[in-house]
Symmetry: C2
Subunit: 236 residues, 2 copies
């Protein structure tokens, strides 16, 4: 049935995908708003919204409340990561063996801590797209790193070479720890980060490699008592 009479929101999704794939809608360009799609396809706003919403969840689009919906970069759409070698600082911490251990162990956080792990071109890692949390502490991070304030940055600015990873330990509350991470990102002219769609214990991570060099960074803001299974996501 769905083949003979596809759902309306599917038609809208296909329309948008064709526009993007054909190159008519370039990266970072604004796509029609919910109201515009509503008129264009003669559907309700909720139907148009569903199309945009699902494409956003799939990484093709980026939405920002108040601003609009934009075409994501191809990097963020692709799941093929071309990272080959571990960053220097990780290697310094005990060569590849230590890095493997770091990646495969379950990280149990007992104090409020901000972890920023950035991989630069040449790093060898593979990211799975699911993060497991024992609560939803990462929501804070998502709101910070996919902050609307950042949208005009990664939509307009050029991307810079990322620096080696950083480990931050802070006693400050979540917000301050987040600011600390953001400060380092700003200090290093890093205007991209992972968007962590976080709502429940089982979280999905949307990769956002807003970088021309294929740089990927993972930023996780933790809180006491949380457990993170980084091991299932970072495979060196």
């Amino acid at each position: 049935m769905s083949q003979l009479k596809p759902a309306k929101y599917t038609i809208i999704k296909q329309y948008i995908c064709e526009k993007i794939e054909s190159g008519q809608w370039l990266e970072h360009s604004k796509v029609p708003s919910e109201n515009e799609l509503t008129e264009q396809f003669s559907v309700s706003r909720m139907t148009a919204r569903r199309a945009l919403q699902e494409l956003t969840e799939q990484g093709l689009l980026v939405r920002s409340q108040g601003s609009g919906t934009f075409v994501a970069t191809f990097k963020s759409q692709s799941s093929l990561l071309e990272i080959r070698n571990i960053s220097d600082e990780i290697q310094d911490r005990g060569h590849q063996h230590h890095a493997e251990q770091l990646a495969l162990q379950t990280v149990e956080v007992n104090e409020e801590m901000a972890i920023l792990l950035a991989l630069k071109p040449g790093d060898k890692a593979h990211f799975s797209s699911v993060l497991h949390f024992e609560n939803n502490a990462a929501i804070q991070l998502e709101q910070r790193f996919v902050n609307p304030k950042l949208v005009p940055d990664y939509l307009t600015q050029d991307y810079t070479q990322i620096t080696p990873h950083e480990y931050l330990s802070s006693e400050a509350p979540l917000t301050e720890a987040t600011h600390e991470v953001e400060a380092i990102l700003a200090e290093q002219d890093i205007c991209h980060a992972l968007a962590i769609t976080a709502t429940t214990p089982c979280l999905q991570v949307k990769r956002r490699t807003w970088s021309k060099q294929g740089v990927v960074s993972v930023a996780i803001l933790t809180s006491p008592g949380n457990k993170y299974r980084l091991g299932s996501h970072l495979i060196f």
Copy 2:
């Protein structure tokens, strides 16, 4: 704001997650329907639906039209894959090197074809969770492999050891090719498969390792003209 006054659907999601994590709602058990949650939380059906929907997309729940919503298995919730060696038949096709090539190339399908790739314990592979399609031909498969008919099977039966992968080539229409895949699954007592949430060119794959041995199988039903980038998803 969302911290001080969380969204209603978030509250419902947290409620369900707590039930599952605390063990009160076991695997395969039925969760409250949309109408029941509507009454219980005094919200509209769409709000309750959104909670169930998002948890389903995150892999915690499985929904079946007409039947209900069920708790997914822990295996399907976990992203930690314990697969170590490539299956025999893949190795026969040219050892690891060929397997790498098979995994990393872009598969362009020119005829209707059903591909069933099953990996058994000891196989070494890592699955990314995003599949790229050039249209939404895989929707058919999703509906077949997450067919309600299969729900009572993987909810009740024991899981069997999976066999090596199979490649099927068929001129039959989509439905017949699907039946062909299903027949082989049944013949080998395979009652688990990947659930492919397929709607648009950029698809997300929910892993459903309904197997005690950590077996993972990937089943893709293709149609002429489609292109699949398996390479970004299977890394040996």
